[in-house]
């Protein structure tokens, strides 16, 4: 089995359109969550979100831009950054051994939303001829593949909130097996449209708007009220270790562990056993004992149920050491990017390991007896020696995906 090197990182997210800016903002405890100014957003119970200041017209010609939903625009921007960071010149690569693996939960949601407005609200039959191609879930992966001429596997995974963790894990497997040399893997999501938000609002799972909207997402705090949706994309270049070394690449980390399990109990309710099993499977695939993990970027959505269940699962896997293990939910700052969350948070965890800085869980105001671990509350921790990190993603539908990265050596 080949080892998997992470040689490139790219991100367009709330709080940063570069890895450097994002990590600096998270380390400073800044929040990217705020009131949304969208058409009709005043009709929402919870008109807040974590949006990205991004305009695709700086990147694409108008003719191409019209074919791209925002989710594909974000994906193209973040993946191009990751390739630039990796310093890869695909013209000298065997492109049929280079692939793309993308996670997205909702795909081109705003295109679908606009199409329905045309059809139902305006009672017009003239839906944009590009609608199907812009809205299809595999559009981001296809555009990335075309942009860079990557003719190996081109895959899209949609497992709700764990989509991009699955996309990374499955991509890593294709490198481990020797099938591919390079996989561009990550996630993208653009859910901030009225139609989508209304659906989430209806589930009564979104956070109640705080007097200071930027403080609305409070993972692990007793006064947490729900999650806050965000948009963005995060991509990693995964590369066969020997291939990366041979071209003299800078290796950020080794993707060494991937665990995948499924709750088969309830469509939304999380399960301690399912989450714990995914963490154990990731540790097993990395060949690590639990005590080797120095930081966990938690799923930590800020819903009453998830955070208590995740805490219990962490205790089950890590035992007494769980109390000494730094865990944080950066969703308190960048919101929940759904299908892009797993890739974004794995990238954040790698960034933390490289810099020795643990990003905090913000807005943890009130201790919850059911959440009694070390959540790095309120303030980043610096100068920490980190050898291995874990990033967890647990989804509606029950797909639990956990990734582990280790310091490159």
């Amino acid at each position: 089995m080949h080892r998997v090197a992470v040689t490139g990182l790219g991100v367009v997210a709330p709080l940063g359109d570069s890895v450097e800016t994002l990590i600096a903002n998270l380390s400073a405890g800044r929040s990217g969550i705020g009131r949304l100014e969208l058409p009709e957003s005043h009709r929402l119970r919870s008109p807040i979100g974590a949006s990205v200041n991004f305009n695709g017209s700086a990147m694409c010609a108008p003719a191409q831009l019209r074919m791209l939903d925002r989710v594909s625009q974000l994906a193209l921007a973040a993946s191009a950054q990751a390739i630039a960071d990796a310093g890869i010149d695909f013209t000298v690569e065997r492109r049929e051994r280079c692939g793309v693996s993308v996670g997205t939960s909702l795909g081109g949601a705003s295109t679908t939303d606009t199409g329905y407005q045309t059809a139902y609200a305006q009672r017009s039959e003239r839906i944009q001829p590009f609608s199907v191609l812009a809205a299809m879930s595999n559009a981001p992966a296809s555009w990335i593949g075309m942009q860079h001429g990557l003719s190996g596997p081109n895959l899209t995974y949609s497992t709700a909130c764990s989509s991009s963790a699955v996309a990374l894990g499955e991509a890593a497997r294709r490198i481990q097996s020797g099938e591919t040399d390079i996989m561009l893997a990550g996630g993208a999501e653009a859910p901030l449209t009225f139609g989508v938000l209304l659906g989430w609002d209806a589930m009564r799972i979104l956070a109640v708007v705080d007097a200071d909207p930027s403080r609305s997402c409070r993972p692990f705090s007793a006064n947490r009220t729900g999650l806050v949706l965000g948009e963005g994309a995060a991509f990693l270049v995964l590369e066969q270790w020997e291939h990366a070394e041979a071209r003299g690449a800078t290796i950020h980390a080794e993707l060494s562990g991937y665990g995948l399990t499924t709750d088969v109990a309830h469509i939304t309710r999380p399960s301690v056993q399912g989450q714990a099993a995914a963490m154990r499977a990731a540790l097993h695939s990395a060949g690590l004992e639990p005590d080797r993990i120095d930081y966990v970027n938690a799923h930590g959505t800020g819903t009453p149920q998830n955070d208590a269940v995740e805490t219990a699962a962490l205790k089950e896997v890590f035992g007494p050491r769980a109390y000494a293990l730094p865990i944080s939910s950066t969703k308190s700052m960048h919101g929940h990017l759904l299908g892009a969350a797993g890739a974004l948070e794995f990238l954040v965890a790698i960034g933390a390991m490289e810099r020795g800085v643990l990003p905090p869980t913000m807005h943890l105001d009130v201790v919850d007896p059911a959440c009694d671990l070390d959540y790095v509350a309120g303030k980043a921790r610096t100068g920490v020696a980190i050898g291995a990190v874990m990033s967890s993603s647990f989804a509606f539908g029950g797909t639990n995906a956990v990734l582990i990265a280790q310091r490159a050596s």
């Binding site: 010609a61 108008p62 003719a63 019209r66 001829p129």
Partner: protein, 83 residues
């Protein structure tokens, strides 16, 4: 404004093309205007001239001039509001 100029304006706006490229002889495929872009263009033509395109398929239109001639034919058949 004649039909060709109107057509040129629409294509310049949406496809980053120049008037010099959009001669009557210029082929749509060479300009990057594919079949889907042509449908979108026809929606705009309908709005611009207040006409409805026939439900059956648009005939094979190869050049910019073909499109202009096709639109002119529709306008003659169904005189509509013009500004």
């Amino acid at each position: 404004m004649n039909t060709l100029e109107m057509l040129q304006d629409l294509l310049i706006k949406d496809h980053s093309l120049t008037r010099e490229q959009l001669t009557p002889e210029a082929e749509l495929s060479t300009l990057g205007v594919d079949s889907l872009a042509l449908i979108e263009l026809m929606f705009q033509v309908e709005d611009r001239f207040g006409i409805s395109l026939p439900d059956d398929k648009v005939p094979d239109l190869v050049t910019v001039g073909d499109v202009a001639t096709f639109i002119d034919g529709l306008l003659m058949a169904a005189p509509a509001k013009q500004d």
